[in-house]
Structures are given as structure tokens and as C-alpha cells.
Symmetry: C2
Subunit: 562 residues, 2 copies
């Protein structure tokens, strides 16, 4: 039973080099540790460059945003900058399902990758336990005479597991007769879709965490009064369960660059960004902080500016848009891409006409990022089948639509050395490192009415011509307008597979009617969730799941996580 | 965000003093670590004394078995012995439910207690993830055309959470129409009732773990062929999830004595003992190893000898039976004790006649332990209301029924100093420390037929007059007789509240007909599970749950876990 894959550098040394006080770093098993962030409050402000990595509308295989974030941080180190990459912790659902792990790839990885992909330090498990404790408290209160007068039909709180488990999407709980609880319809979601995960990623302190959890709303009384975790007196125990989960995790890249891994809110149903606290630690210690937002710039990207940065209190100095020739060819109409299947092989072969057609998607994403008034660097994540003509076409299109630069990056094959050009472009774009930090330019002011916020995002970011409200959504709007949630930012839940709400609309759809089905208030996370069409919060496993390839080798190493 | 409650001694120092090589000890957050047990194979055999702590039939509040185990290990340290206590990890179900934490009490605790009670190093979460991954794989296989021809009505594999959640006892999963899986009845159990937890506690290596998991049986084909995790190709991923969970956890007591915390199988539904691997590490490093078996000697005690010790390859040198005057009074008929309610106050007041009546329960437990040919020391776990006459009566009864000694222990109030007499008696009873280890004397040979094994346990341990088999159990027996499981040891699932199957039969019931409802083969754990009457594997929360008292203080400490 030997240790995991050899770490590049002792992690305590990585923490020390980053300037984390010895007493603030706690090892949590081989290759991983947690950072008590209290020291940041006593650390003088540092002129760090804050670099957002976002992406085009991806293929189901992803366009290498994580790998690019890791490679870029390593490339910046090659240029002599003290760099940190901040990432979300991968959910185990995709690890065992289709997509594989979330530790990067090739020579740009977070190590030990199997630790990152399975459990890490248990934060997602802690989130699931806190979430499910509230669920158990709800059904227990119903069972014991319902003293809060909970209307069971209004209970919106699910249960969660950190796995893809289709059969749990719709369930009936409480069966079995007296002594087995009150039967009612229930549902399970994947743990990273929990509001508790969004809260973890947005909380600034244990006190903030506790307050947010106390406000979590799970349903209403029969008189329509909203009911919270505090009403069930379960908020304290939920907060206690998350005590150490709130400490950001430290790991390192394949070249020994510090990697802060913390929080994993879904990017389609939640705000899709790593934790505010993790970025605070990084910004207090490094010259350059590279952070990745989930899915395209329309999803995690927009939410980075409008939700995460508002809590953090600053915006990024530069945004990197990751594109691949493969992805652009798909938007140009090559191949039939289906979720849960391998990508068609023709996507990996040069196809200049299709790529030219698909560039409209990239142009849209550059435009989205430029609305937030940051310089944009396009990172062309190099693929084996890319032709010179294609790369030239991407560069030209990027520069002519307002990107600061467009650079090929070969970090997958070459590690940080392959990302030096990208790193140089990013530094050039982000301006004077000792100058003022760039002010935050959110898309909308918080005092804008909720319906206008939604219309603003749908039209300016997604390219919708109009927003269509369901009757339920209209009622939701009317209700929310009278509450403090009217001043919350909006998190729109929609597909990642299209700029629109419809996964079939590839490339650069516009003018469509964007449908809002339901609007919920997430009082603890502090945002309004607007749901567009069907959004699945519990993925299923494919017919040939990735778990079948995973196991322990004779030496006790974890193998088979791609 | 400061560190947890001050640790007595730096834990790395505790590990080092115990003789664990530096490279084999991994910190896993403040106050806890894991031990890579590989070094044990290279460590010369050591003449350690192995001390089992078992108990009488308890009240719902428990009679202080954990506290006594901790106090005894500390008492042995006071006498100059290098001691370790090995315990199961507490489930979070009871922590948030009725019973409170499992970290001992008073001045005999494992610290930091809130770490022990919540998450520890995530082993239970890892067990739950592995368990639920198999469940997801089963329903996924049903959904994707059922290539293994699984008969859905034979699926016996549950899902689990580490919480008390009554509403999940009986559920219907797979609702919602096409794309949402195949509807079928399902159930959830508490994670510590999972066969995976039993496997974790019995496995000797990663290889052994992987083999056991591959054999786990979840149901049958429509032709009646048993189906395993290996048939679904999910065993490798399940094993990978448990890679580090198999490493025993190290903590320390309130006086700095090493505490190895590992595994937490239920004692009513599973074998109820801490891990074999944890005890191996302890026996390789300490003079005295104190280990606790769950509930009474009829449950965890019998299974310690017949299941755990067979895997470990040795028996204990001495058994300690924990009794309280309070518990004996209850068996003597004082008060109306109800699960989920506070104990009646009259139980804490001296009552010599009732105690004399209840001593029959202690006598039965001494007799059970003596059947395994070990010397028995009765530990009278001192309570405030105990009278001198009562203590004298306990001592006399213990000595006259064959106990080696009976000693009052005040470790709750005084820590290790209060357990010195108990420690001395235990050393005296366990004989020459440099002599041969006592040979293992199980109750029955493995080649005895399964029905005879069950009859032997029911009559010799529980005091039954006969065993009554359900029709299902008879069919189960006939089926099992033809398989290799016929040579497995038997684990009987029954109530802890009585020596019999009926919780209402207090004190010393005998001659009753013991009903076996169902007999299952746990191929991975390697035992046959015989279920007596109704055994609840998913507890419920009470009307006033313990979670309502738990929270974080302003200083970030976890408060309110009793």
C-alpha cells in the first residue's frame, strides 16, 4: 500500500513558497491540503493580475478549458510570475459517467489527479450531508405532527448524491405505512447542483456561511409563508458539517504550480465558478491568478462577472477565451454530435470551410466578454488535426472582432513551455501590474427589476429576440418583486450546448424567443434562479459508463480515469 | 477561522511514539491522520495483550462502553503500558438523532471529538459512494436494455446515506417516464449498515478489498443466477473509491493515548466491530490493545470472536464486561424505558432490590464471554447515584458467576487515573505478557451446517429454547447448503435491547422460540446474515432531534454534540 503517484514537490513546500503561514496550512492526506484563510485578512493588499478563463460553446467532450487554465498558470510561472490556478472540484458523477475526470490532461494536470477526481478532502460529501440533513429534518417534522404547518406540496428541497443516478430523478418517499413517514413525491439531484454548494462557493467566512444557510428556504406553510432551515433549527448542524469544507484546498499542477481547488457549483443550474474564498487566498499570495468559469462565456462567464465578482469585490484584468478548431468545425456543421457518444472522427480532420462557418460562435463569445469591458485573449487550444490555414483563419477572425490577441497554445503536449506565448499575450493584455485593478463592470445593476435583468442577459448575452414567460414564471416575478430578492443577481439555468436554450441551435443563433419556465429564489446563495426549458439536475449514466474502466492496479494506484 | 480544540500532543508525535514509520503516517487535517498499514508486514511479531471490551444489555443511553474502552487504555498508560484503543467510527445518524456523539464522555474522550463525530477522514462517505455507485450501475443496466437479464424483483441492493432519514426506508425509484429509468421499489439504509462497511472492516489489503467487492451479490437473473458487482464491471471503481478509506485512522484520547478509529459496521445488522486492519496495526505497535465491540456480548461480542477474530487470526487475552447500576436496575424492572426518550430519573437512584433482580443480565453476559474461554473482568462504570451496597452486590455476583474480578471504574470523572484499578485487574487477568497468545476459541466450527450454527448461537448465546424458521428462511437454508457460503460464519441481526429477539424481554430471558425470518449471503463480507424478526436498518429522527442543539460558536468551534 504505497503512496499515490509521486508529487512534484512536497505540498507543504508549495504552500510555504506561496506565502501561506505554516499554521494556516493543513495536510489532508498525500498530495492535498487545506488553507485556513484567516491570514488573508492580515495580509497587505497585493497588485495581482486576475485572469478569467472562459470558453466557446463546447462539444460534449469539452474544449480543454481546465487544461488551458492549468497550462496558462504554468506558462506564467515559466515567465517568472508567481502564479496560482483556481478551479472547481470535479463531481464524481462525470468521472464515472461519460466525461471522465476534471484534472486537466496531457502535460497540464493537477496532481495527484485521482485524488482530485475522487473525494479530494470530502467537501462535496460534506455538502451532500448538510443538504440531506435538511431533507431529513423536513420529513421528520412532517412525521412528528407537522408543527410548522409545512405544506408538503410546496417542499422544493431535494435530496442529493454525488453520482449520476437517473433512477433517483423522480421518487416517492415515505412509503411503508405508519412509522415510515408521510408519503410524498421527492427528487434527487447531483450534489454539485445543491444550493448548499453555491453557498459554499460564495461564503466569505463561517459567520457568512451560517447566515446564508439559516436563510435557505425549503417550502411554505399552508398559509404561504416561506420556511427556512432556521425554522427547523437545523441550520447550525448544517453549518457545523461544512466547517472545514469552507477552507480552500491546495494541490499542485504537474509542474508544481499551486492549484487551489474549491467549490463545485454546476454551471448550468448554479453559478459555475470556484469559490470566492479560494480566489481571495490566491489574490493575496500570487502575482497572477488564473481562474476557470464553467462551460461557455454565456454560462459560467456571465455568472463570474455578475455573481462571483460582486461578492469578491473586483473584476478580472483579462479574459481568455478557449477555442478549438474541432469545436468550431462542429458549429460549422461537421458531424453528428450526440451527448453520451464519442465525437465523430471527422471533427478531428481539417475542414476550413466548416471552421470558417463556425467562427461565428467564437465571435459571439468574444463579444460577450467584451461587454464586461475586459481585454480578451483567444487561446487556440491546439489539436492534432489542425491545419495552418485554420489557425490563421481563427487568428484573423479573433483580431477583427476585437480580441486583444489570439495565440496557439500547446500546453497539452508540452506543459507550461507550450503556454508561454499565451502567457505573454495575457500579461500584455492585462496592463500595468502595479496599476489600479480594473473596476468591476457587471452587465446590469442590482436595482434593475428581475424581469429586466433576465431580458438583459437573454438578449445581450444569449442573443435572444425576446423572452417568453410561462404563467408560473409571471406569478413568480410578481411575488419576488415585493421581496428583498428583487435586488439579487440572476442565475439563468439553461443548456451549455447552445448560446440559446435549445441544444440543437449550434453556432450563433439569434432572434429566438427565450422561454422562462420558472423563477426560484435561492435565499441562501443570494441569487434568483431563472430556469429556461428543461434543465436536468441529475445526469444519467451512459450504456458504457466510464466506471467500467476504473480500478486499482496491483501496486495500489488508481487507474482508468481519463 | 482558528484550528480545532487544542490537541493534547501533536499527532505526528503520537504516531512516532507508537513506532509508526514517518512515511507511513499521513495527516488528514487537524487532529487526525491515516496509517498506511504496509509496515506491519515487516514488523516483528510483538507479544501484545489484546483486550475486548463488551457490555451488558444496554439502556437506550448506552452503559459507557466506549468511555470505558478509552478510560481503560489511558489507565493502562498510567501503569506504564504502551496502549492503544481501537474503536469504530461513529455514524452521523445518531449524532444528529438521539444518542449523540461516539467520542466517549467526561474525561475519557477521543479528541477532537467533533472531528470524530462528523466526517473524520471521510471513510463513511467513501463507503456510501461505493455502495451507491453499485446501485446506480444496477438501475442503469436495467435502463439500458438489461443486458445481464437482471430480475428487478430480486434486486436486494439498497442505497445508503449516513443520516437517520425515516422517509427513505421504502421508496419507489425510476418514476417520471421514459428516460427516467425503470420504476421499482427501493429502499435506503444508513451507510454503516452497508455490506461495503462490513467489507472495509474485514479486509486485509487492497487486493482482499477488491476481491471481496467483486463478489458482492446484488440480485439474480430471471433464471436465478446470482449477479455480482463484477458482472456489472463496477467493482474496480468501487474499490478505487475505498483506496484510502482502507487505511486506519489515528487520533488520540484526552490524555494523548493513541486511538485507532476505523470501520463502523452496525452491530445489530452487521458484525459491529472496528476494523481488522486497525487492530493489526495496534497489535504490531503497542503492549496493550483495547478494542470495543458494539452493543452487548450477545451481539458485537459474539461476532468479535466468530467473525472478526477468525479473520485476524487470534483471540483476545481478556474480556471486559461493562455494567452500570443504572442498567441493572432497568433489568430489575425500574422505570419505563423508551427508545427516543430520556431515561426515567428513578433509574439514577439507588434501588438494591431491583439491582439484585437485574444482576441476572450481567451473569448471562459473563457466561456468554466465558464460553469463549477468556477471563472476564467486570467493569462497574460508576454512576452518581450508585450506593455502596449496590456496588458490593455487583462484585459478589460477578465473582460468584466466574468473573476473574469486578472493579469500579471512575474514568468518566477522573480520566485514566480513575481506571487504574480496572487496568490492573485486566493485566492480572490476561496472564504472562510474554507468554503464548491465547488460542482463538470460536463458538462453532465453520464446517458446521448453517442451520446448526444459527441454533448454536441462539441457544448458547441468546438463551433460546428453539429456533423457528420462516418458510423463506427454510428455502434460503436449502439454497445456501449447496454453496461455498455454507462454510461462512453467521451474523445474526437482532435487537440490542434484549438478549432475545424481542426488545420487551429484559433481564435474562430464556427458553423462548427464536424466529429467523430470512437468511442472506453477504458474499463480499464473507458471512451469512440471519435476520431475526424486524430489524430496522434506517433509523428515524426523534421529535426533538439532537441536531437542533449543534452549531458553530463565534470562534468557529463545533458546539452541542453530546
Amino acid at each position: 500500500m504505497s503512496d499515490h503517484a509521486v508529487s512534484r514537490v512536497d505540498l507543504s513546500r508549495v504552500a510555504q513558497d506561496l506565502g501561506i503561514p505554516v499554521v494556516s496550512f493543513h495536510p489532508y492526506g498525500p498530495g492535498r491540503g487545506k488553507i485556513d484563510p484567516l491570514f488573508v485578512e492580515k495580509t497587505p493588499r497585493r497588485p495581482s493580475r486576475y485572469i478569467l478563463v472562459s470558453g466557446m460553446t463546447p462539444t460534449p467532450a469539452g474544449e480543454g478549458k481546465t487544461t488551458t487554465s492549468i497550462g496558462l498558470a504554468m506558462g506564467l510561472s515559466h515567465l517568472g510570475k508567481k502564479s496560482v490556478v483556481t478551479l472547481r472540484q470535479p463531481s464524481m458523477g462525470p468521472v464515472f459517467g461519460i466525461k471522465g475526470g476534471g484534472a486537466g490532461g496531457g502535460r497540464s494536470t493537477v496532481e495527484p489527479s485521482s485524488v482530485l477526481n475522487l473525494h479530494l478532502t470530502g467537501d462535496i460529501h460534506a455538502v451532500a450531508a448538510a443538504h440531506n440533513l435538511l431533507a431529513a429534518a423536513i420529513d421528520n417534522s412532517l412525521h412528528h405532527g407537522n408543527p410548522l404547518d409545512i405544506d408538503p406540496l410546496t417542499v422544493s428541497w431535494s435530496r442529493v448524491v454525488d453520482l449520476n443516478d437517473r433512477a433517483l430523478r423522480r421518487v416517492v418517499v415515505g412509503l411503508g405505512g405508519p412509522g415510515f413517514g408521510i408519503p410524498r413525491e421527492g427528487r434527487f439531484e447531483i450534489a454539485v447542483a445543491s444550493e448548499i454548494m453555491a453557498i459554499l462557493a460564495l461564503s466569505l467566512s463561517w459567520e457568512d456561511l451560517g447566515k446564508r444557510i439559516s436563510r435557505v428556504t425549503f417550502g411554505r406553510t399552508r398559509q404561504g409563508k416561506p420556511l427556512t432551515a432556521a425554522d427547523l433549527r437545523v441550520d447550525g448542524a448544517m453549518t457545523a458539517l461544512l466547517r472545514e469544507a469552507l477552507w480552500p484546498n491546495l494541490m499542485q499542477t504537474s509542474e508544481g504550480t499551486p492549484a487551489i481547488i474549491h467549490g463545485s457549483p454546476f454551471a448550468n443550474i448554479a453559478h459555475g465558478n470556484s469559490s470566492v474564498l479560494g480566489d481571495r487566498v490566491a489574490l493575496a499570495t500570487a502575482d497572477c491568478v488564473v481562474t476557470e468559469a464553467g462551460f461557455g462565456s454565456d454560462l459560467g462567464g456571465e455568472k463570474f462577472f455578475d455573481i462571483k465578482c460582486r461578492v469578491l469585490g473586483r473584476g478580472p484584468d483579462v479574459a481568455v477565451l478557449v477555442v478549438t478548431a474541432r469545436g468550431l468545425r462542429m458549429h460549422g456543421g461537421v458531424g453528428e454530435v450526440r451527448q453520451g457518444r464519442a465525437l465523430p472522427p471527422e471533427l478531428s480532420r481539417p475542414n476550413l470551410p466548416a471552421l470558417r462557418e463556425g467562427l461565428a460562435n467564437m465571435v459571439r463569445h468574444v463579444g460577450i466578454l467584451r461587454q464586461f469591458e475586459v481585454p480578451v485573449v483567444v487561446a487556440i487550444n491546439s489539436g492534432e488535426g489542425d491545419s495552418e490555414e485554420e489557425v490563421r483563419a481563427i487568428r484573423e477572425a479573433a483580431l477583427s472582432c476585437g480580441a486583444f490577441d489570439a495565440v496557439v497554445s500547446t500546453h497539452f503536449l508540452e506543459g507550461g513551455a507550450g503556454a508561454k506565448d499565451l502567457a505573454a499575450a495575457v500579461l500584455a493584455a492585462s496592463g500595468d501590474p502595479n496599476g489600479e485593478t480594473r473596476p468591476l463592470r457587471p452587465l446590469y445593476p442590482l436595482e434593475m427589476p428581475v424581469d429586466e435583468k433576465i431580458v438583459t442577459i437573454a438578449t445581450k448575452i444569449y442573443g435572444a429576440g425576446s423572452v417568453v414567460w410561462s404563467e408560473g414564471a409571471k406569478a413568480d416575478l410578481a411575488r419576488i418583486a415585493k421581496t428583498e430578492a428583487a435586488a439579487f443577481p440572476v442565475c439563468i439555468a439553461k443548456t451549455w450546448a447552445s448560446l440559446s436554450h435549445d441544444p440543437a441551435l449550434k453556432n450563433s443563433p439569434s432572434g429566438f424567443a427565450f422561454p422562462i419556465r420558472e423563477i426560484r429564489v435561492l435565499s441562501g446563495a443570494g441569487f434568483v434562479l431563472a430556469i429556461a426549458g428543461e434543465t436536468q439536475t441529475m445526469p444519467g449514466l451512459p450504456s458504457d459508463p466510464a466506471f467500467a474502466r476504473i480500478g486499482l492496479t496491483a501496486e495500489g494506484e488508481i487507474a482508468g480515469i481519463l
